[in-house]
Symmetry: D2
Subunit: 344 residues, 4 copies
């Protein structure tokens, strides 16, 4: 079968790979019908996250179950399914507490041996461990484009909102309007937020945020702190989401949040950074961090998407054949796309 | 000044009353500009809730502060304000925990001496105790018709949803589509509910619920239990709201709720009744009950109404002068109106 | 092997049964080293809960894994383990939400076909489905007598306290001081309750409750409502636990609970009963019901027992050989024992 | 009257001051019968926190109400009361949400004009604003030494545990065993923590922690990270409390906490610092920060202290007359005392 493989920074290539086979009794094999290119893939593409040359990329997929071990009870051969970006065992200390994203045996598709040596989904077929948790049936009537988001980008946007504790009537700020930030805008509105202030430097993304119901604020041409004050009687927002993963974004998030509010850092932080703990502490902020618990959220996210409460499809800007993956990565790298859906 | 007074079951009358004066340092006097007739008023009108003849009725009001004690800091003379249906001291065991609806010194407007001898708001002026908590400024641009709901009916609809624990993506059922039930439908949708099943026998009310985004189900002409099953893969809803206050409604609420779900009984129960505890217990249901904590919710409700997340104005079916209060009660008693707004 | 089987109301008998064999890949077989007789067994013994004659009884056990399917990862052959009273699949809608007690495929040991046809643990060996969830390793140094409680009676006592929302400094009442009620007393104290009022009619049980730190109150010789008032400045307790499962207990629980408090009904209710909803509603009570989510709690309960925060061993009043099961049931039926531990 | 006043770094002095008088209707005047010297006072004494020379110090007090405005309803003249370290208005956005520590008009006793120009409690009398919230009656039988802690140090220790989300059966680490850290140890045990690992460099403090039920670990002579691993099957604690307020303490707290756990930073942070966000983020930690919400907690803390669930009196190492305040500060500065109680 064909698979998109990492070769070297800046270079991905279609290569032939053997079709996957069931290894464990709760494995499934899915024939991929749509697979996305995601911001996380760019970390690999740029060499910031290192994986083995020849490893298959990709962690977003929709397709059909073509084989399922006899311990797979939640989906069956022939089912149209979507995958979560990672797997979880369901039995460990963390899974038993519902923290599937911190599973002791969690593996991420397409991220090489440091994240569990799980071959990626940008391929004609993908092997799915712990299929009872990792897969979900696609609700009737939901498009591939939509379903693709449930197990990764929208699941992450929702997680950002959920851990921010945003409730109906609250005010929120979202910093960074990439796909995750835009999904967070939509999720915040879905959660009943009265005001969502969306901050970025890219006009197109600010426009999408506005269409999703946010008040767009340009990071540098406007004054985000003043805009937040004006919108919140001077108090700051109840919660701010850092969807960038940069020290400046985290700092601004802390500054625009009201006393006793919450900062949700969904953007990846991997370094030591300067944090103005004086600001954080005197305001008695709560800081929530880490990857999204997509497996824990996927039922809820699908229910919202099915009902039209959430709709990520406006984020799909490109459809390309899997065979053109190399071009797809280049387009995405030039920030010309919000979401590229590839079809094997 | 003119005031609407209870005389006898089925009889209310406009009478002349002295203008109220400040008694306590945190009292305010409000010149009433709009006041509603509410389902609770009918309990008095029908004699089921007994109050003293001559007592001024009404507990929903919007108006302007004409006098404020010098401990009133949150509103000022000249402010356009709305009132909550009850007052709370802010200092007792219950207030300190945010349970303002169970304040040890709580008083309800227009309900006679059993609920604190607080003269009602269906009058040209009303004395407001603990004005810092009982009153809120009307947000700019909000109509009297809308603001009137924040301190009573919409606050109650929201409370029903809030205590039901309804979260984005959840399914819910609302039993009884009077004004509170319809506000609960809207609040459930605002809270991100994926599915809201609205149950009643009155076609007009079912239509309003449908316009608010619910799936209408006729209580007797359709099969509510079957409809709920169909909508929830046979499981039942995550939460059901009894907005009637009748044993049959509570029973149906328990039956349509999924295992480990919640029944929110916002309709008034005042009697011993038969409850099928076998059903409740085997399903491990949570039952939440009681009056709405409107003071605890009013900021949030106003924020949602200001942002258009909630909009109760479609429920206002009649505007009448205060002088025609006797007619207004008769109209309301004949169930010809959802909400009557009276203007002094 | 020997097994304790139900024959007819009032009659249990040791019979020879074949040793169990693994059926599913996540099954385990446990050689039973201690097994308890529980109040639930009496429901069967009395014929109130009907099971098939010849069915093996018992749902409390400690022992050693003698066989484990290759999908069993959390325990291994040779491990000393304890069992939960029921199994859960780990994958269904309810399990994914952590509501293991409401698993769509949940089965209870020793309760016949209505609860999943799972042969009981009062035998030399027991087959354990979904062993990754149903079993836990016994912490080092914990006695069989103690471990036996984690998966049933103490798990249930803790559940009663947990769903009651009892927090440090709270006041609580426990109605009914059988083993579950006494464990609830201990769990409430462990959770930091400042005052626990323990109510029963049996002097011995009141004494045990007092030793566990509660204030004992005789149901009929004293005045429980007056005692609660006195202890709570007239307000009522923050939470009351009905550990009886009788309408009178539920009613008293509602009456001794403060406004906006919680009633936790852990005693089994299976019937239609009269509930004074007027009392419940005007006080704005929360009612929590149902079986205990023991699988969800067992790690936490074991951690508390290991640390000595909980210690159920004073409840073990009798040790008997399995072969004397018939006597054991008779003793238990005469209420001469709090907990009988049988050894095969 | 006599009052302890700040003069210059390292210099406090008894000076004569006029007795305070009621200014607002909800003010009270308390005759001080016991007042503490606290770590926060040392920040002023050392000049790190700057206040006006001549300002009266102190924010911990127990005494008798000698005057009360007529809006004071919760305490009365002649009542024996304790004070919280700060006041709150009870009406603002933050107070209405129960975040009394972030009150828009909050004032701290004895901290000069930057914290509200509220003269301190190390004096014969103290003026108490918003007395309904700021004061509480001392429960019968509670000593001055104990009561003094409820409104400051124990309230803060409890807050650290409460915001850490520590529940029965959890494991916790407390970094820094000053009075707040030791109170946090006790509060964690009271909350049912199965394991509390207490870390410091001072042998005496480690001994007290051990007597309070913790496992003492010397910061430098032992290996705290290894000790935590050993105690938690390699996972890390469920929650860690930084009771120091130093970057190293915060860093160690993050490192000893398990994935998806919580770090509660109760020690004061006032600066920009380096934080290893890579560690925080990959573990998906929650960070809770800020001053203690003592007013929000004081009822609960008093209930626990009354019941003996908490007992801070072992922390009182010195009793001194108010007139010897200068010596008291010197003793405290030399770290010879855990808590000094001064008597006017």
């Amino acid at each position: 079968m064909q698979a998109v493989t990492f070769q070297a920074p800046g270079e991905v290539r279609i290569e032939e790979r053997p079709e996957p086979e069931l290894l464990e009794r709760d494995d499934a094999v899915v024939r991929v019908e749509a697979t996305g290119v995601c911001g996380s893939d760019l970390h690999i593409y740029h060499g910031r996250v290192q994986i083995e040359p020849g490893f298959t990329l990709g962690h977003e997929f929709v397709g059909t179950v073509v084989a399922a071990g006899d311990a797979v009870t939640e989906v069956a051969e022939g089912d149209r399914v979507l995958g979560c970006y990672c797997s979880a065992c369901g039995n460990c200390f963390f899974c038993r507490r519902g923290n599937f994203h911190k599973c002791d045996e969690g593996r991420v598709f397409g991220h090489g041996k440091t994240l569990g040596s799980l071959q990626g989904a940008q391929a004609e077929q993908v092997l799915v461990p712990h299929a009872n948790l990792t897969l979900r049936g696609v609700p009737e009537g939901m498009s591939d484009d939509a379903a693709l988001f449930a197990g990764d980008v929208m699941g992450t946007g929702w997680h950002a909102v959920d851990q921010a504790g945003i409730r109906p009537g609250d005010s929120a700020a979202v910093l960074g309007l990439g796909p995750v930030g835009l999904c967070a805008v939509q999720a915040a509105k879905a959660a009943g937020a009265a005001k969502v202030i969306a901050i970025d430097t890219v006009a197109d993304r600010l426009d999408v945020a506005a269409r999703f119901g946010a008040q767009p604020v340009h990071l540098t041409e406007e004054d985000p702190r003043a805009a937040v004050k004006l919108a919140t009687e001077g108090r700051g927002v109840d919660a701010a989401i850092d969807a960038v993963g940069h020290p400046d974004a985290l700092d601004l998030a802390a500054r625009v949040t009201r006393k006793a509010g919450t900062v949700s850092a969904i953007g990846v932080h991997a370094e030591r950074i300067q944090v103005h703990m004086g600001v954080v502490w005197i305001k008695a902020l709560t800081l929530k961090t880490g990857h999204a618990n997509v497996i824990g959220h996927v039922d809820r996210v699908l229910a919202m998407m099915s009902a039209g409460v959430l709709d990520p499809t406006p984020l799909v800007t490109h459809h390309m054949p899997l065979a053109e993956a190399s071009d797809a990565y280049a387009v995405y790298d030039r920030r010309e796309a919000l979401k590229i859906v590839m079809t094997p």
